[in-house]
């Protein structure tokens, strides 16, 4: 036999493509001051919600009520996949793209990040993190976005690492481990840059972990502080857990959605996840702080200043991780708005957590009742072993993690609403690390569902209009100074609504359902709207009636015709 042919050294797969491998240096000067004033550069989308207040509002108005009917795709980016990966059938393109001076940074499933020319769709560089395909994931192979600044792009990985990339070429700058994959922890949240820190939370609440929020030095990756959302015995809040048990060690309360931030108070408003086990409250008697809460966290120290718990002693999987939108009342009062999974809309004073107003924003609530003064009365819940219990909203909630938006021109908050119920049957089980820890069998309704976009006046609780659809709304809204609200829907259409009336003005079929957050931006005076599409994630939780819908992973970018 002859000598072996020399096959050489393996090369990067991207080298066998048209990927350039470099992007303009546009993020070096993106820092705390610029993000604080992000609304002054509406051509960019510098941070997850566009601004720290979580309003998801753009002052761009080139695309408006009069011309939106002419909106058309400018380019499409296809993510694609190679080989086996985790959640092979549950991946979803859930991110909100960021844009800085003509360069888009977006993450996809499976540890991928791209820098893309925001005007042409040309792939400038690509990064791929090797995520284990056996990592514990409750809700699919997803990632909700990146943070950019200090010349870097920051990403949480499925195996709970925080990584920083050189924004000019996608090369790794640091890689720190933030969680324990053997305990069932993972990472899906979009990081938030505040001051010289990167803020991230943990995922894994369905596996009985102890949720936490962490701050890292944005330059070095060194941890500054960690705040557990389940207190240890003796710490404030520990009295809401069994005194002599192990429940606090597995209590959940994960921080898997990006917090909002008030720079005047230097407070992060972090929503926390469900207690674990989700549906078996018998092993965790008490209110179970700080699960299902908004927790006001001092960004400098990680200390908790105040909290408000939306669903004490949760028995329905009602995470409160979704955003806490910050806005000011006409009288100057500093408020926070939160549409919870439990179907109630809360307005709080964000300086002290005092309840200002609470009212239902969905049609069907059977799990319990919250009075106008905030008193919670559970009514229907899995209690007896083996006895099925049906309740509304289902475990994905009247609104899941996907975000609402606030338009200061109308004073309205646009909420994507899911009307889907579920049946849970309590089944107690032992706790074992990395194994799902629900304490019930759960079947979300396959029929009798619908959805709508609700335009809510947060000052009165009045629903001004609703745009009803036969399917639940499972994607974030975006609102603009063009008088528009954008909403992607499960059947693949991306629609534009009149922000004042709810009238549908435009629609485009993207070919796969929406479960992401659209991003507005402009380059050289041309406005664009970008939206990742790709039906997936926790479909069995938020809309199992569409488990058979087409998957996908394309990013669509729309603009008005140039001529």
């Amino acid at each position: 036999m002859t000598d072996y042919v020399d096959a050489g050294q393996a090369v990067r797969l991207t080298s066998l493509s048209a990927v350039k491998g470099s992007a303009p240096q546009v993020t070096e000067n993106v820092n705390y001051e610029r993000i604080l004033d992000a609304s002054s550069e509406p051509q960019n989308w510098l941070t997850y919600y566009g601004t720290y207040d979580g309003q998801r509002y753009s002052t761009l108005d080139q695309i408006n009520k009069e011309n939106v009917r002419r909106l058309t795709p400018a380019w499409v980016f296809q993510a694609g996949a190679t080989g086996m990966h985790s959640g092979a059938s549950t991946y979803s393109f859930e991110a909100s793209p960021l844009v800085v001076d003509g360069v888009m940074y977006v993450s996809g499933p499976e540890g991928k990040v791209w820098a893309i020319d925001a005007t042409t769709g040309e792939e400038l560089w690509r990064f791929k993190y090797p995520s284990p395909y056996d990592v514990s994931l409750c809700c699919g192979n997803v990632n909700r976005g990146v943070a950019v600044g200090h010349g870097k792009v920051y990403l949480c990985t499925l195996n709970a690492h925080l990584i920083a990339l050189d924004a000019t070429n996608g090369e790794i700058v640091f890689d720190v481990v933030n969680g324990d994959v053997r305990a069932g922890e993972s990472g899906t949240v979009a990081p938030l840059l505040v001051k010289d820190m990167v803020i991230i939370g943990s995922s894994g609440g369905e596996f009985g972990v102890r949720g936490h929020l962490d701050a890292f030095d944005a330059q070095t990756g060194e941890r500054r502080w960690r705040r557990y959302m389940i207190p240890k015995p003796g710490e404030p809040g520990s009295e809401t857990w069994p005194a002599d048990g192990e429940a606090w060690q597995r209590g959940g309360g994960n921080c898997w959605v990006t917090p909002t931030y008030d720079p005047e108070q230097e407070l992060l408003f972090q929503g926390t996840g469900n207690p674990a086990p989700d549906f078996d409250g018998g092993v965790r008697e008490g209110d179970n702080l700080y699960t299902d809460s908004v927790v006001a966290v001092d960004v400098n120290t990680g200390e908790i200043r105040w909290h408000y718990q939306f669903t004490p002693h949760d028995l329905w999987d009602y995470d409160s991780t979704m955003e806490n939108l910050l806005f000011d009342a006409p009288d100057g009062r500093k408020l926070l708005a939160h549409a919870d999974k439990n179907g109630y809309f809360f307005v709080l004073d964000r300086t002290n957590g005092e309840l200002v107003r609470v009212f239902p924003f969905v049609d069907r609530i059977t799990w319990g009742e919250i009075s106008p003064d905030g008193k919670v009365t559970p009514k229907v819940y899995p209690d007896k072993e083996g006895e099925p219990v049906h309740f509304w909203p289902g475990p994905a909630g009247g609104k899941e993690w996907t975000h609402m938006s606030y338009n200061p021109q109308t004073g309205l908050i646009y909420v994507p609403v899911q009307e889907v119920g579920a049946t849970a049957t309590r089944r107690r089980r032992e706790f074992k690390e990395s194994i799902p820890y629900w304490g019930a069998g759960v079947a979300v309704d396959l029929e009798d569902f619908y959805g709508y976009v609700a335009a809510i006046d947060p000052l009165t609780g009045e629903e001004k209009w609703r745009w009803r659809n036969e399917y639940p709304m499972c994607a974030s809204t975006l609102t603009t100074a063009g008088g528009l609200v954008f909403q992607g829907i499960p059947t693949g259409e991306f629609v534009a609504l009149d922000a004042e009336t709810g009238e549908k003005l435009w629609s485009f079929q993207c070919g796969s359902g929406h479960h992401s957050s659209p991003t507005p931006y402009s380059v050289d005076g041309r406005q664009y709207i970008a939206v990742p599409t790709g039906w997936g994630g926790w479909v069995e939780g938020f809309f199992p009636g569409f488990l058979g819908a087409n998957a996908g992973d394309a990013l669509f970018v729309f603009a008005l015709p140039e001529d």
Binding site: M1, A7, A10, V11, T14, P132, Y133, R182, Q249, S434
Partner: protein, 154 residues
Amino acid sequence: MTTTSSDRSDQLDEAGLAIQNRLALGRQLGTGNIGHAEEDSDGRMRATIRIPEDELVWDPAIIILPHGGELELTLINDDKNTHCAVLPTIGDHLIIWLVNHSKGTATLNLPGPGTYWYGSTTGNDEGRGLTGAIVIGGEVPAEAKLDRPAQPRP
């Protein structure tokens, strides 16, 4: 490099699942041998995988690493057909083309515990049997663990 076997491999052989076009059309995934990477004193790891003639399987198909880090992998194609290897590493997939009777190398950098796919992505090599796994053992660093007492595992 060491390999292990068990009664299960005998059962797979008897059933015709560990050979091409006997019971199934291809070789059942996950039926190949198991190998352990060798570790140098500096923590770097080395392993060799090869493709035997007409078996459409990596040997070993499962490579066990004691921890994350750098793996120097030697790939040998002893088959009389052309294949390739797409491999995981931090930053991108790596690819190496493996013509008949060829030998090459790949340097992988992998993070912590878990299972990482690799395979030959030409034709349906992946479905016929050329799908492998790199399995990293060990624990995450102490500073990344939850602050709680040790918990039961399955």
